[in-house]
């Protein structure tokens, strides 16, 4: 087994391939989460505002339809559809297609996470902000969002972790992520199991580290709750 792992990891500097793949996985996940959070925040804000403002009925309907479609179809299919239809040109960057796909997919889930987090903030907070003369948007930025983040963060962190694992399918649209690197090495050495185990270990370690980081960040945000 040691010999097999040596062959799958050290020989011919193969660890460099994992490293490259690992970088790609992180980059893809990170950019996707940014895109997902940006779109998700906009959708959540529209949905939150639409409860009080009838003018937003149409945008609200569009947002609901968007969320329903994204959540109602497999991400695997969404990826191919985006790659083959929307990015149907020869010089498409696989990374860009991946970011768009996973960003859009994630945004639907993130939108609901953010909306629930905003709605969990006491209505009196918004009233207090408005009564001081702050506009609706200032109240959202300075009063509501900072408090909503505490509600949102655990679920959002989870979403990020899920996304890192979901990007493992991106090899199918030619993104050289860590899973793809592992299968490539499997092909080269005629032995799939060791590189796949190595890839799995990499995902596991990253997820563990992120979980720890998230926990300490949450504790820091909880500072104002102490008595």
């Amino acid at each position: 087994m040691i010999d097999k792992l040596y062959k799958a990891f050290i020989e011919k500097d193969r660890y460099l391939a994992y490293l490259e793949g690992f970088k790609m996985t992180l980059l893809l996940s990170f950019l996707s989460v940014l895109l997902g959070a940006a779109i998700g925040l906009i959708i959540a804000t529209i949905k939150y505002a639409a409860v009080r403002n009838k003018l937003l009925a149409v945008p609200n309907f569009i947002c609901n339809a968007y969320i329903a479609v994204i959540r109602g179809t497999p991400v695997y299919l969404q990826m191919f559809i985006i790659y083959f239809i929307i990015f149907n040109t020869r010089d498409t960057s696989p990374l860009l297609a991946g970011v768009v796909c996973f960003g859009i997919n994630s945004s639907a889930y993130v939108a609901e996470i953010i909306r629930a987090g905003i709605e969990a903030v006491d209505a009196g907070q918004s009233e207090a902000g408005r009564s001081l003369g702050l506009s609706w948007i200032q109240t959202m930025i300075y009063v509501i969002f900072p408090q909503a983040i505490k509600n949102i963060l655990p679920a959002l962190g989870n979403e990020f972790i899920v996304l890192i694992k979901e990007t493992a399918i991106a090899g199918n649209i030619a993104v050289l992520d860590v899973t793809k690197a592992a299968t490539n090495i499997g092909v080269a050495t005629y032995d799939y199991l060791p590189p796949l185990l190595i890839a799995a270990a990499i995902y596991f370690i990253v997820v563990m580290i992120l979980t720890k980081l998230l926990g300490s960040f949450e504790r820091r945000l909880g500072k104002s709750d102490r008595r």
Binding site: G129, S131, L132, G133, S135, Y142, P146, S224, D225, R226
Partner: protein, 241 residues
């Protein structure tokens, strides 16, 4: 200063305010009393457009606020402080942050000016040592005094109080009423919804009695409490006094 003309408010089909006409002068201390569900809080919340009136007009310092655009409404609210039953301090900010947020973000003061003003106000209420504390570390009475200071930091022309002592432990009611008394003595225009009849007797220049969405009776406190004319008010006073 504030003119209310034919104010109506419906929640769905339920009429909460029924044709309210009222005039409030600068420097007046108006206390609004009445049974729960009589529309006192809604009346107060209509004055600074926390609730949008269904009908009627409210004129504040010569400007009709009921027809104001949202930007104007925001500017009008800067001049109308509001204190809530549940304090509604911002839990993610320090006391100093709570007080200075609006003046800084609305670009009325620099950070240094706002901080200085906040410390002056905190000294006045004897809570300057709490400037760096978070709201969760304060008692109810302290929170409400900070909430009042937060409103005062905006230099309002009128202060609206929505049952400011109703959520407090009995032993903390006094410190909040004392601060309100000071404010009244300093000449602040105040509209107070409260169940504290003692405060009404002592501080009010006028007491309004609301019942079923109408202002049924109003008078100077000595006459209001000693010679009530309306049957509902007589009943109400016999229960609360």
């Amino acid at each position: 200063m504030i003119d209310v003309k034919g104010l109506n408010k419906y929640f769905g089909n339920h009429q909460v305010l029924n044709d309210i006409n009222e005039h409030i002068d600068r420097g007046e201390k108006v206390v609004v009393v009445g049974p729960s569900g009589s529309g006192k809080s809604t009346f107060l919340r209509c004055l600074n457009l926390m609730e949008t009136p269904t009908g009627g007009e409210i004129i504040f310092e010569g400007v009709s606020i009921t027809s104001a655009k949202s930007k104007e409404a925001d500017r009008i609210r800067q001049k109308m402080g509001m204190v809530f039953q549940h304090f509604n301090l911002f839990p993610h900010l320090t006391i100093l942050g709570n007080i200075t947020l609006a003046p800084i973000k609305l670009k009325l003061m620099t950070k240094a000016e706002a901080g200085q003003k906040a410390m002056e106000l905190l000294k006045r209420v004897g809570l300057e040592d709490k400037a760096e504390a978070y709201p969760a570390q304060l008692s109810g009475g302290q929170k409400q005094r900070i909430a009042i200071v937060r409103s005062l930091a905006m230099n309002p022309d009128v202060m609206l109080f929505d049952e400011p002592t109703s959520a407090l432990d009995p032993e903390m009611v006094g410190e909040v009423l004392e601060l309100m008394r000071q404010l009244a003595n300093d000449g602040m225009t105040m509209i107070v919804v409260t169940h504290e009849m003692g405060f009404a007797k002592e501080v009010a220049s006028r007491v309004l009695f609301m019942d079923e969405g109408r202002i049924v009776e109003q008078n100077k406190p000595e006459i209001f409490f000693e010679q009530p004319k309306n049957k509902r008010l007589q009943d109400f006073l016999s229960k609360v006094l």
